[in-house]
Amino acid sequence: MNQKLSEKLSALFGLKIGNISPLLEEPGKIHFGSDSNLMDDDEIADLSAEFLSLMAGLLGSKNPDDRKSPEFHALEMFFASLSHKILMRGGRVEEVVRYTQLLQYALIEALEKDSGIAFTESRSVLHYFTSIFNELIMAVFRSYLEERERVLEAQEAELRETSTPITEIWDGVLTLPIIGTLDSSRTMLVMEALLNRVAKDHAEVVVMDLTGVQNIDSQVSHHLIQIVRAVQLMGSSAIITGIQPEIARALISLNIDLNGIATRASLSDGLKEAFRRMGIQVSHKAS
């Protein structure tokens, strides 16, 4: 960083920047206040004051152009946390980016007014602020992407949980309705969850209902057979129900050996078979 620019920035820092704080509230009011209702006036005032204090810290630091300085890092964290807060309140990343851009113009305008220096004549200062704000916009985007990733991971975990609803429908009888498309990674998850439940609940029979499965490929059908085998190896019985005609045809054309695997047309038939194997008789109450 050249000496001249550093001096100019120090001179700016020497100004009574507290005076310009109200001017910086305007971008916040436009993007987070009134219509969007993401922040109230007090919060916007606090936001502007905190930003100004962090910016003053950066401009007054030993090397204001150092992007690894604690002062710059604090400013980045401020924008990352702002982005996170706005997204959590239902705002969009565009609003935070536009706020950051508008804040840049407002800061330059306020400093110009306060210092009496026309920044159009001092391109180095203008360039400095532009590059700083570009980095801050990047921080906003990084935070946005991290948040999106976190939300997607949470949604995926929730989906996994709900897509393998293993239920103990009777003492020692587990049912697992499989819905949607079975791919290899999901099949592995199903297998892991199911085997652990067999051990935990001491399940004697597992009924796997494929009524909701529309497609199956060679790899998945092998995994399916592997689940059945693993359940049997643990000492439980497995019954597959609801194999649709298309799936049955696919299994045969894939040369999948269903020998030794109990199948029933529907979940209800599967449960009847499970009860029969356990010696349980379910009957209507005598009137």
């Binding site: 085997l195 004697e204 693993a230 000492g235 019985s237």
Partner: protein, 118 residues
């Protein structure tokens, strides 16, 4: 006393085999002979093999179980593996291509019901 395993009589004609960590299945032939002799002398008809302590069954261990089960079948003793862990079942189901020679059950008490030929 057979090194590496505990063989306990349970009931009139059944035995429980609990392998310990020191079980050396390289001595397969010797071990199988010992077990078969003891079961024959006791007129046993069922051998429960407890797999509770085994997190993984690899092809080598499976070959040992298979050989033992076939020998048991030859002397008319039913071999039932109990307490197979989910991880072991998962690993084993990945490489076996045919029905094992042994039966499986969750526990001894389930054998009357399941006695599950895989």
């Amino acid at each position: 006393m057979i090194p590496g395993l505990h063989l306990t009589r349970i009931g009139r004609d059944a035995f429980l085999l609990e392998p310990s960590r020191s079980l050396n299945i390289k001595n397969e032939a010797e071990l199988i002979e010992h077990i078969a002799r003891e079961l024959q002398q006791a007129k046993a008809s069922c051998l429960y093999y407890d797999l509770a302590g085994l997190a993984l069954i690899d092809p080598v261990y499976y070959a040992w179980l298979d050989a033992l089960a076939r020998t048991m079948a030859a002397i008319n003793v039913r071999m039932v593996c109990i307490h197979m862990q989910p991880t072991a079942a998962f690993a084993l189901s990945g490489f076996i291509t045919e029905k094992p020679a042994f039966e499986t059950a969750l526990d001894i008490s389930d054998v009357h019901f399941a006695g599950n030929p895989v």
